[in-house]
């Protein structure tokens, strides 16, 4: 097996630009800013509508969902269609691809059907990277969520939403409330916020839902909700999964809401212009009170719209990087031939 297995930056091409989009870890601020700026260009500033553009005409994108998802998959499909790509979506039962051979065979078969890009969701952490290591060099992989590892497009749309409302992420204090330990979204959010140099990232919740090694993520842990959100600019509420109750990590939704639910009274502790975010779908009365979810500081539904534009941005950047790389390689080989002839 080649040494690129352990290379952390297989998502960058030889020009240092995005070739795959697997995780935010290891990316530079300019990579993220480019995504945010491109996202902006897809949204009509007056109507908030998303334009249809012919950027990916003739390109074939396959959405491979090894784990069920309706929302993420739909946003990806819409984004792909707005880019005029040819779209096919496949739900693949993990059980049918238990053996390694058939998992990669599935991938290679689909690749042979002239796929240019795979959008992959899988229950195993590291799955997107695994696929990226085994696709042909001209094929791109976009991570739509792998296990508890990363969900970079979701995090980027959150960054976009923050930037839209707060101007710049630099110097902001952000509190992320809820299940941090098991959430791929939060892991990616934290990485994005760190890269964009947020002033302080706090994670708030009971010990069972907090990472054991917060220093590995560069976050501050708060077990008390009031302390955790006091003075912050952004509150991100994380959806609480049912499994957390059945595995005895927290006693009940009711108790969670009592301790960590976002109420109007608690929201008043944050900065007056603070925004409230949630990757959705929300559990009213579990993570968040309806009055807050539907209130003036909530940007929850905007996030959904931006999700389409962000995914369009990532896909169009990747495809234009690919075109740029091809041009660069052609020029390089022309130059090399010329040099050889001179010699």
């Amino acid at each position: 097996m080649s040494s690129r297995l352990s290379s952390p930056n297989i998502q960058l091409n030889e020009l240092g630009k995005l070739h795959h989009f697997l995780t935010l870890e290891g990316l530079k601020a300019h990579h993220l800013t480019e995504i945010l700026d491109t996202t902006e260009s897809f949204i009509n500033p007056n109507t908030n509508e998303i334009k249809k553009v012919p950027l990916l005409r003739g390109k074939s994108i396959m959405n491979l969902f090894f784990e069920p998802s309706t929302r993420t998959r739909t946003t990806f499909e819409i984004a792909e269609k707005r880019l005029s790509a040819d779209v096919s979506s496949l739900d693949i039962q993990t059980s049918a691809t238990k053996k390694g051979e058939s998992l990669l065979d599935t991938l290679w078969n689909l690749q042979a059907m002239q796929a240019d890009m795979f959008v992959i969701r899988h229950a195993q952490s590291g799955a997107a990277q695994f696929f990226a290591q085994h696709v042909a060099p001209h094929v791109h992989v976009l991570n739509a969520g792998d296990g508890q590892h990363a969900h970079p497009t979701q995090a980027m749309l959150d960054m976009f939403t923050i930037r839209k409302h707060m101007g710049d992420i630099f110097d902001l204090k952000i509190a992320i409330v809820g299940d941090v330990q098991h959430s791929r979204v939060v892991r990616s959010q934290i990485q994005a916020l760190s890269i964009l140099e947020a002033r302080e990232i706090r994670v708030v919740g009971p010990k069972t839902l907090m990472p054991e090694n917060p220093e590995a993520l560069g976050v501050h842990i708060y077990h008390n909700m009031e302390e955790g959100i006091t003075g912050v600019d952004v509150i991100i509420m994380v959806r609480l999964q049912n499994e957390r109750m059945t595995s005895a990590l927290i006693p009940s939704e009711k108790e969670f809401f009592k301790l960590y639910g976002l109420t109007e009274a608690r929201l008043a502790l944050a900065k007056p212009n603070a925004i409230v975010m949630h990757p959705g779908p929300i559990n009213r009365g579990v993570e968040i009170e309806s009055a807050v979810a539907d209130g003036p500081q909530s940007v929850i539904l905007e996030q959904v719209t931006y999700g389409i534009a962000v995914r369009m941005a990532v896909m169009s950047i990747i495809m234009s990087n690919a075109a740029q790389l091809t041009q660069y390689q052609t020029e390089k080989s022309v130059q090399e031939t010329a040099q050889e002839e001179q010699a």
């Binding site: 238990k98 195993q124 952490s125 590291g126 508890q148 590892h149």
Partner: protein
């Protein structure tokens, strides 16, 4: 055939020998060590071992040989070849075969195949419970009669404390060592990586150290209560080393081992999701690695094993958590051990003892030393030979090694099993 191996540095921890001298073999046995041959000994052949080391053939307490069943790669024929290429001449194979080695029939099958291969001494370990299910006891007397040198649950420890207590109590009267892997399945909770910095960053399901230590605490109590001779396999945590040290101090009849990769790799190696680093128990923190090495240096850890697990390529070509855990380790046990001697201050005698005399004593078998009349199982090393590991050159059918590209000093030049040369390094 009588052979004199002359002028080599003979290292035998069992006899506390480390000197440049001659070694004499006769009819498959060791006939003597010293400047002068034993009385009446005239060699048919002489082998000059100037500048070489001669050590007893290694005894590996845990190596999977791929047979019976197709779950793992390789066969007894291929994996014993791999063993002797790594200087190992005695191998214990755990019972997690297909079918499970919980019967006389499987034990005898293993022995028969090993005799046919005639490359190394294969010692089956019997399953403590039927099909390793952790419920009903295997026929322990029959397994022992058939030649099992120990009993274990491989990587499937008994979860039910009462079942384990009964199993230990019953086995206590059979004078056979029980090997215990400590792992609480609930605390493991389908985890695949050590709960630490790396799992937090990578979002890999975690295995806390308590999955090992809480099970070890329980097992130590039950061992004490039943008085059985127990051996603890493949420790991975610093706290486990302390607990074993404490228990030994109190006089419990216990021993333990560590897998060689735990002394070189840590959780940091998992950062790239490379499934070659997926092992069970998981690679743990730097502090754990250091504590394990100290445990070996101070004698708390008695033996080092390869935990050889040859895996088909397809079973590693999967996302980290779905890949089969394990490393193909027979050919790197001795090189990695010598690396600890060369680079990390491990005493040479201690290192060799941990793979020869100590494991042999744990099993109460007459091997792992160069004593007179013992089987002439030995290995001739070039202590200065430099080489780089290329998985394609491995003898084992399992090419799943995370040590690709590592540089080693010390090559196995020749291995003798029962006085016969069974391996000669093709590069010498």
């Amino acid at each position: 055939m009588r052979l004199a191996i002359t002028n080599g540095r003979v290292i035998d921890p069992a006899q506390n020998i480390d000197k440049i001298t001659n070694l004499y073999l006769s009819r498959g046995k060791i006939a003597g060590i010293g400047a002068h041959p034993p009385e009446g000994f005239s060699p048919d052949k002489e082998l000059d071992a100037t500048d070489k080391w001669i050590i007893p053939g290694l005894v590996d307490l845990q190596a999977r040989l791929g047979e019976p069943g197709s779950h793992y790669a390789g066969s007894i024929a291929t994996e014993t070849q791999a063993a002797v290429a790594g200087g190992i001449t005695s191998i214990c194979c755990p019972p997690d075969t297909t079918p499970v080695n919980d019967s006389q029939a499987v034990t005898e099958l293993l022995q028969r195949r090993a005799r046919q291969a005639a490359t190394a001494f294969v010692m089956p370990i019997g399953a403590l419970t039927q099909a390793l299910q952790g419920e009903r006891l295997s026929s322990i007397y029959a397994l022992k009669q058939a030649g099992c040198v120990a009993l274990s649950q491989a990587n499937q420890p008994i979860q039910n404390a009462l079942t384990l207590k009964n199993a230990l109590e019953y086995t206590a009267s059979h004078d056979i060592v029980v090997m215990l892997r400590c792992e609480d399945r609930q605390l493991k909770n389908n985890g695949v990586a050590h709960s630490g910095m790396v799992s937090t960053r990578m979002g890999l399901p975690e295995i806390p150290p308590s999955a090992e230590t809480s099970a070890l605490a329980r097992d130590l109590i039950l061992v004490e209560e039943t008085g059985i001779r127990a051996h603890f396999s493949q420790l991975s945590c610093a706290r486990s080393v302390e607990m074993i040290a404490e228990a030994k101090q109190r006089g419990l009849p216990i021993t333990c081992d560590v897998a060689i990769h735990q002394l070189h790799l840590t959780e940091m190696d998992v950062l790239g999701f490379n499934s070659l680093f997926h092992v069970s128990p998981p690679l743990r923190s730097m502090a754990d690695k250091q504590a394990l090495l100290n445990g070996l240096k101070t004698g708390v850890i008695d033996a080092v094993v390869s935990d050889h697990t040859p895996i088909h390529k397809d079973d590693k070509l999967l996302p980290f958590g779905e890949s089969l855990p394990g490393i193909s380790g027979l050919e790197t046990l001795l090189p990695l051990l010598l690396k600890l001697v060369n680079d990390y201050g491990l005493d040479l005698m201690t290192a060799i003892r941990a793979v020869t005399h100590n494991p042999a004593s744990i099993l109460s078998i007459q091997t792992g030393s160069l004593k007179n009349n013992h089987s002439a199982d030995l290995c001739i090393l070039d202590p200065h030979g430099y080489w780089t590991l290329n998985p394609e050159n491995m003898v084992s059918e399992g090419k799943n090694t995370p040590f690709q590209g590592w540089e080693f000093i010390g090559t196995v030049e020749q291995t003798f099993f029962q006085g016969r040369p069974v391996y000669r390094n093709p590069n010498v």
